[in-house]
Assembly symmetry: D2
């Protein structure tokens, strides 16, 4: 293609268009509205407007205007949208009357008739180049604001439904992020890392630039500088049992060709506004394949993962009558002083029992990280005490971490077994620890 | 980004995944189904499957299997989809019962309950990298097959609804296509040119590579080698009155800096499967801005357009009692021999009357090309006889062509006037010709 | 980088500069010279000019002016350059006088003093963006013109010396050329293919786009749309014994993963103006590595090569007293009718003897293609009769072709043996054929 | 092109080749030499070796081995090179004997005969992908080491001669550096900024990412992540009279469209190893054109430049009998206390006299920055007191800074006048200040 800069071109295109059509009375009029914060009126204009060029300008102004609102006014705006862009009740009633069971076409007509106009509004706003990222951020606002408002929950469903379609897996691209990646992307990696904080550009440089480190993310073409999710990988000789040696600046780097193990030590979802739309599942598997292609000597793919709900569960189990706690363990836990932690052998035993047996009401693993990886087809491979001595690590799990193993041949089998029978795959070692 | 090749990587990724999971019985089992052409069963598997990796493989096999079907079997497959992926009537009935006028949330619940599962099926298939283009092509098949089948018309609405969302203007990119464009894109320009045929690579080279020629298209990131629509532009000193000098190989090329006029002489929609989703409107305006940026000396932006329905209209008007035809014109037309054409002055007069006055029942211009450009905000600027002496030109309009003028300051005004009052903007010269 | 278009930008930059400085008298003056074809004067201006901006314009005008010259005037221009941009004899004499054996610094001073100013002139012209390709083409002209002129041969040495430095291996890039390559590069592949003609874009598409075909070339960053050399590869199951099945449009394509053999069936040097600067040697080895990375199942790397000088040698051997021809072979050859060819077994025996034993005076292989591949470390692997029945194939070698095998572990050993002892590596089968 | 990653591919290619040929005894033998630090022997191998693949490996090992040497051993290595790769005295004598004045071809032969073999050695080393940057860095070492050694000065001339040819203007690319530039380039901007230090990534982000800031650099394709020189630009409404407001984090940003002035406030040469090869001259002029294209409203192009030698000159003038100092100025200067500075009006008067009249023996401006911009065709436009209150600014020039104006129409004229007559272009205001 002669230009790589389609997106940029379109942005400045818009300001050009703006200049050209600014003379027309219509635009001039709505411009005055800005002062009255009548954003909903602008939205009406947008929906009414059949001339795309001016429609784009209106959409752009909605986004700009919106971004300047206070949280309170954003809430008012969202409520205004719900009220103003609902459903045509009459048309819906007609569609209902026309339907009878078994009539798919009538159901489809009903489906379209019942679509709140807020969905079309969001689609119209999205026509402006650059709008997608801003709509994602708008939904992040909405999630923060909506609380228990039924009204706003409905609007959030509109967003989620549209984003589910727009961020379809087939539209995403996987990219390696390294030291040759644009700074505007890298700064977001620093900002979004959710598990093991990145302490600035020097730290980042190690995580993306060291020969034995990798970082991969999913991107959407309409948001090229915004990772959606990323995973950090350490290439090592053996399966690691603690996080500090991986993050240490003084660690010994190895040539990637010498590595036999790839360790997924951090996965971060980046966009609050994409809550409920899942990517991580697939990212790990794709990264496994990318790494195998680059480094055929890699034979082991594991995570080094936290156990975020171990202590919370243990506290509940201690209070309740949970049979997963043996009498001895109860005593040990009851005797623990504030801030102390059990002996390593106790900690790993408790963690192993917890991870293999503690369940949610629907039968899935109690621990959210365990649920994610098991659902993904991984095996609970090892449990380590004193593996994460950060305040959070101690507070969540007395410092326990675990490895989940992604074993190519078994992934699909384990996934199915967990999905259908809720059976948790664990190594013999972990089984033994758990007292099975 | 470290790799530009996200898409490629993902394609080969899939075959890697395929190899890795092929051992599992589940996949092996469905594979045997291929021979029985039980595509609908595969679709059921896809919808049931919650393990994304295997789901992708299923989706890929659906697409491959589909592409090998005969037209007849495609029709059967589409019907099978409609039957198998309809609506849960019970859930829908519950949602209907829960709704009362004014309850937007209940309407939304109804909306989701009434969504045919075929929509979700299409979204699931789209998860495979490269699927989008194949789904577009699947809909093209469907459009060719569906005829008057109500059943299939419903499925087509699903496609159109999803494509409308996926091909939202905000996701498209504009690119100049020139002689440095990949051959795989250029060959599609040859194939898709719909107005003035491109006679092979040498002809193409002139249209995209000559210094006074430009070609721009819209692309979707998931279909990077498939233009969606493109427009061909000639840079000239004056407004042209015929097509042959523009297409001639022997014409004199000019330095682009000397041009004052940009002529849009051909617009081609490329994807039958995107029927009903409009891009052309916006493409022209964006190209105007791109050209102004590159060549600030350009001052005039016009089309050189066919008048596809002139003779058809005239034949009808002659038979009927259409007052737009004067008595003299009636005589002239009635006297025309097979294959002959009226004198130039008569032809342009008839065309001017036709274009400014002949209307569809809803009040819009009778001529489809006129309707497109007028609705876009252009002005009917000039009418030329003996401008397109190709068989098609003669057969459609006795060789008449016209210029529509895109005049920056007036575009929005004209667009509004046509949209709301159906008023047709024409130059004084054309008005005079039309006898106004 | 924010822009990929450095080169383009620089080109239009120049015309901008031109406009800006055109007012100055100096430029205006030299412009008038164009009519008098006083190119050498422009060259003097260029060398005198210390203001880079105007120097660039002068250089650009030299190139443009030059390209419009007749062959005769080009010859005059070259001679003018040699006369006008020689050596400062006085300074050279001083440097000679200052030198005594063993004084490296004085020798270096002498080296710089003896440099013909024509070298600096070429460097100055090269400062214009886009000049490198035009200088390469200028040398191609010179090679065609110079004949036995000692004067022009000297100027050619200047070009060759500079190009040797500029086209240093470290500055070259290898690229795969496929159907996503820009058309402007692909059209050059059609034009430059020197061994097995490409019959247009459809034929090209097979050679670069078929799944079992590859094409790789070396490029220089200052000439991004000009391949320097390229090699065409067929991926096959077995070692081929004839060219027609490889070029046939009707052949059966195979999935690349099924291939075990990569066949280098055509190597083309593209730039006459780079005569004497060798790339092919290295290209093949690099392509071997690229292919192994993409397709680890490939185990055999061979050429399918012509034997261009077989018949020429045989004719000479028949006339002379060459002991390589047995009595029986002499009879056979002498009895051959015009246009006839020996029986297959005779042809391959003659070819095997020729390739393994016929030598140039310096001891290298008589056959130029054999010399290239043997010097490169390949082994003469097989000889095939009736392998190239094209007019050229028949005329050069009665249709005989051969495979040279690139066997990774042995390449370096064979290369050394050939380089130092002129020993020709051949398979036992070929040795047996040759009667060793 | 199918791959953008030519360079990367070539690097890993080398390690592949290394693995493949490592078996051969020759390579194995030289490898042992590494321990004996016999780098010069490796260089001999490299020159003798006609097999490119192994030659590349030898070159790579030379570079790696070299980079591990101490400064002392580097000096020994350089001397070893000079001794070992000199000239063939006999051949040179023959060439001298064959030459007589007027014989250009004999002079050329002499030229080639007198070329120290160290030049060819450098060219051979450069064949390895990635070598160019390492050779540039090798010369930087040499410049630091060579002191007054005649021997090493000669070797430096070899480097300079080759780099002059390789870094020919026609091979360079200009790129804008912004916040989407790869981090590996940006970190070098931080490291190389020589005039106004960049205090980390946040500061950098302002300099490259703020809407009213620009940064452009020259790059060589063989060193894509290494800027050669870059210039920092501020877009302002008026010509600035001090540096602090430009660098301040709290400054008010303006929309670039509102700017009328582009201020070049910092120019940094990045590569010590390219000392003596000039780029800055041209960079400024090209940036002027780039900016005009992006922002047609820009009308004024000025620098905000230091006056690095003002105080040094003044101290000399005070001690000597320099008539440029008036009696009053002498008194003022003599009375200045340590660390104090003259009143603003005195400072600018002194600076104006100094800049317009103080000359080097050859007649050029005494001040190096003045010499650069005047030689470039700029006009000394304004002089500001208290413009740079940093320690360096005060120490060099009592805080005085100046604007040089690049006035499109006059650049060439001024350049010529300065080049030929040493006449210094200054505005009437500066002239008046200087007392002309």
């Amino acid at each position: 293609m002669a230009d790589g800069g389609g997106l940029m071109a379109q942005r400045s295109f818009l300001s050009d268009i703006l200049r050209r059509v600014a003379g027309s009375g219509r635009i001039a009029r709505t411009r005055q509205n800005d002062g009255e914060s009548d954003l909903v009126t602008l939205c009406h204009n947008l929906m009414d407007d059949q001339g795309e060029a001016s429609g784009l300008i209106t959409a752009k102004r909605i986004l700009e205007h919106y971004s300047g609102l206070s949280a309170e006014n954003k809430a008012l705006f969202f409520k205004g949208i719900v009220d103003a862009f609902g459903v045509d009740d009459r048309a819906l009633q007609v569609a209902i009357d026309a339907w009878s069971p078994g009539d798919v076409n009538a159901a489809r007509t009903l489906h379209f008739a019942a679509e709140p106009r807020s969905q079309e509004l969001i689609r119209c706003i999205n026509r402006v180049p650059g709008a997608t990222a801003r709509l994602v951020s708008m939904r992040a606002d909405l999630l923060g604001i909506m609380g228990k408002s039924e009204k706003l929950r409905g609007l959030d469903e509109d967003f989620q439904h549209l984003f589910g379609s727009w961020f379809n897996r087939g539209f995403l691209e996987i990219h390696r992020i390294d030291w040759s990646t644009p700074a505007e992307v890298l700064e977001k990696v620093i900002a979004y890392e959710a598990v093991h904080e990145i302490a600035g550009w020097d730290d980042l440089r190690q995580r993306v630039g060291d020969p034995d480190r990798r970082l991969f993310g999913f991107f959407h073409p309409a948001m090229p500088s915004e990772p959606l999710i990323f995973v950090e990988v350490a290439l090592t000789e053996d399966i690691p049992g603690a996080i500090a040696p991986i993050l240490s600046r003084e660690r010994t780097r190895i040539e990637p060709e010498r590595a036999r193990t790839a360790v997924f030590y951090s996965i971060s979802n980046c966009q609050k506004g994409l809550h409920g739309i899942s990517f991580g599942n697939f990212l790990i598997k794709q990264v496994v394949v990318e790494l195998q292609r680059e480094l055929p000597e890699l034979s082991t793919f594991v995570t080094l993962s936290p156990v975020p709900a171990l202590r919370k569960w243990a506290a509940g189990a201690l209070q309740g009558d949970d049979p997963l706690l043996s009498g001895a363990d109860r005593k040990t836990l009851a005797a623990l002083e504030e801030g102390a932690r059990p002996e390593p052998d106790v900690a790993v035993r408790l963690a192993a029992r917890y991870l293999t047996r503690a369940k949610r009401p629907r039968g899935t693993a109690y621990d959210p990280v365990a649920h994610f990886h098991l659902g993904n087809g991984a095996v609970l491979h090892r449990v380590h005490a004193e593996a994460d001595l950060s305040p959070r690590g101690l507070s969540n799990s007395w410092g326990v971490m675990v490895n989940y193993l992604y074993d190519g041949d078994q992934i699909e089998t384990h996934h199915q077994a967990y999905a259908t029978e809720r059976s948790i795959a664990a190594s013999p070692k972990v089984r033994a620890l758990a007292g099975d």
